[in-house]
Amino acid sequence: MFINYEHENHVYNVTVERRDNQFFVTYDNNEYTVNATELKPGQLKIEVGDRVIKCVISEGEENKFVFIDGNIFKVKRIELTGQKRTGKKESRLSSPISGTVVSVKIKEGDTVKKDDVIMVIEAMKMEYLIRAPYNGAVKKVNFKEKDQIEIGQITAELEGKEA
């Protein structure tokens, strides 16, 4: 079986074949022969030669979460069809959090400088500032004071170019 995992904008390609409790994993031109047992749902004990990997894996709606050696990794399994996919562009104009707009500092037609605060969003009793990622003119403001905003929604559109 051929699988692609996405983690923080990187893709990891791996193949795995199973024979009973033995698994043959190929990654980065190395093959690993491992014995594995699922002790409890999601809790695996994996032996790779002398080494023992203990981990807990859990599935969310979109992501898998891997707890291993005290660290947690959020990973998405993706299907690649031969078409090069374009990664989601992180825009500094999008809201980093779901919350309430408490202050809008700009209006259509304004000129802003890089790092000017354009909107203030409050969530979980903290304020988050949205700053202009580059110099430009405000084309459209998508939210007004007291609006609810969801994570990832674009606060405003700027004309200009990324420095």
């Binding site: 996405e6 990973v75 031969g82």
Partner: protein
């Protein structure tokens, strides 16, 4: 003793107080908003009341609704926990007016200590050292700007009614002053309904060290030693410990005495905390008083053997303190780590979602104060603190190792947490030496990113094995039949096109 107490809070602190009540034979009433209907504090309480709309002002901050419900179920006392209504004098007053015992200090004392300017004046009059600054009533920008220049930079802008980092800004130069004041005022207005601020000298190598107080209603006041709370991010504590590595026997005695003087100066009753700033030369200054149980109270409990939540209930029941100052002993070392649903590699932004799995570390001297469990949803309505992990050991070095072990076995899947980050802080050589200030996180972890080396090999193998076990047979076939000449079928890691 009370027969029934309502706990006007949620999360781990509600759970902790409910258990204290139940151990003492007191019936408990939980309150909850709609999104919290299956939360642990609701499950363990003897009764529970739905406050409806999750917006705090409609539920956990709704004074009339909470008081009415307390009356209708016959609660004789209300414990406010921390946050929400804990330091709201109007709430304490409203309880008193309806004949319900507010488990905390008197409303007047909360009001006085809640006004940071008045609080400082009161302390100055009682000969408690305070930090230089402007605490005037004139709140126009011109006055504040002028006074700010007098105090000098760097300085702090702080909300008069604030607490926990809300409405607080550091200002490094004159340029930033106006915008910072404006922003602090707005945040304070929204959080506390009051936009008054004050300005304060920003100290060199500052440590945040606080003293726990217990005062009964018969004039007895004791302190339960210090807590070192310098490890903060965004002005909120994330790691607390006791004893403080900076503390000397003499300084502890002097600060302890000062804390008792401060509490007596305002006629304080019940549990409270005197927060001090301590500079590089071990000068200390009164910062503020927290008129409630603190988040970090468990480390004091671990080292003194005193149950603070139970004493809150006893004191509110008119019991006299049976613990004498001279009998109190600080023993061993305790650390608390606050487990937050937040992303340390992205400005500590809160993270929401469903907790797919929660498995807590356990063992001798490991205490988990938690208000969450597997399958609970973390919503954006409330503070993103999930739980507190408190460990204690014979000495600081052993205890740091114990905490690192515990964090390494702390499983929370489904939201991003600060667990790996906490571990990195504890592993830092300056932390191990005890060389900490309130700037520690900013100094050493400004651009910290989790897993900067990407997904480790073990995780990749584990995922492949997991998917091999859990993928249905027909899917496996489909994967096998994928185009063998696909350019994506090389096996390794590559960065996605951005």
């Amino acid at each position: 003793m009370f027969k029934k107490v309502l706990i006007a809070n949620r999360g781990e602190i509600a759970v902790r107080i409910i258990k204290a009540c139940q151990e003492m034979g007191i019936k408990t009433v939980a309150v909850y908003s709609e999104v919290d209907s299956r939360a642990p504090h609701v499950q363990i309480a003897d009764e529970s009341i739905n406050l409806g709309d999750p917006t705090p002002s409609e539920s956990y901050l709704n004074i009339p609704k909470i008081i009415e419900n307390a009356q209708s179920v016959g609660a004789e006392g209300i414990h406010p926990g921390y946050g929400f209504l804990a330091e709201n004098p109007d709430f304490a007053k409203a309880c008193q007016d309806k004949g319900i015992k507010f488990i905390g200090p008197k409303a007047e004392v909360i009001r006085l200590m809640g006004d940071k300017i008045e609080a400082k004046k009161t302390m100055e009059n009682a000969s408690v050292p305070v930090i230089p600054g402007y605490h005037g009533l004139k709140q126009d920008m011109a006055t504040l700007a002028k006074e700010g220049e007098k105090v000098g930079f760097p300085l702090l802008v702080k909300a008069t009614a604030g607490g926990g980092g809300k409405g607080m800004r550091i200002v490094n130069s004159e340029d930033e002053l106006e915008q910072s004041i404006e922003s602090a005022k707005r945040e304070s207005k929204s959080a506390f309904g009051n936009d008054s601020v004050f300005l304060e000298k920003y100290l060199d190598k500052p440590r945040h060290i606080e003293f726990q107080i217990l005062a009964d209603e018969h004039g007895n006041v004791i302190h339960l030693f210090e807590r070192e709370c310098s490890i903060q991010r965004r002005h909120q504590k994330i790691i607390e410990e006791t004893p403080s590595p900076a503390m000397t026997k003499e300084l502890r005695e002097e600060m302890g005495k000062t804390a008792v003087v401060a509490a007596k100066a305002v006629g304080y009753t019940n549990a409270g905390t005197i927060e001090f700033m301590v500079d590089g030369n071990l000068n200390f200054y009164f910062m503020e008083m927290n008129t409630r149980l603190q988040v970090e109270h468990p480390i004091t409990e671990a080292t003194t053997g005193i149950d603070l939540a139970k004493w809150q209930l006893k004191i509110a029941n008119d019991m006299e303190l049976t613990i004498k100052q001279k009998d109190l002993i600080q023993r061993g070392h305790a650390i608390e780590c606050r487990i937050y649903a937040e992303d340390p590699s992205n400005g500590f932004l809160p993270s929401i979602g469903v907790l797919k799995k929660v498995e807590l570390p356990n063992g001798p001297n490991i205490r988990n104060d938690t208000g969450v469990e597997t399958n609970l949803e973390i919503t954006p309505y409330y503070d993103p603190m999930l739980a507190k992990l408190v460990v204690s050991a014979e000495n600081r070095e052993e205890n740091i190792n114990k905490m690192i072990w515990a964090l390494s076995h702390y499983v929370v899947l489904g939201v991003t947490t600060n667990i790996s980050f906490l571990k990195k802080v504890l592993e830092h050589k300056e932390f191990k030496k005890g060389n900490i200030t309130t700037h520690f996180i900013d100094n050493y972890f400004e651009d910290w990113i989790i897993a900067d080396k990407g997904l480790p090999l073990d995780a990749i193998i584990a995922l492949a094995v997991y998917d091999s076990i859990h993928t249905r047979r027909q899917e496996v076939v489909r994967f096998k039949e994928a185009d063998p000449h696909s350019p994506w079928k090389r096996v390794g890691r590559w960065r996605m096109g951005v």
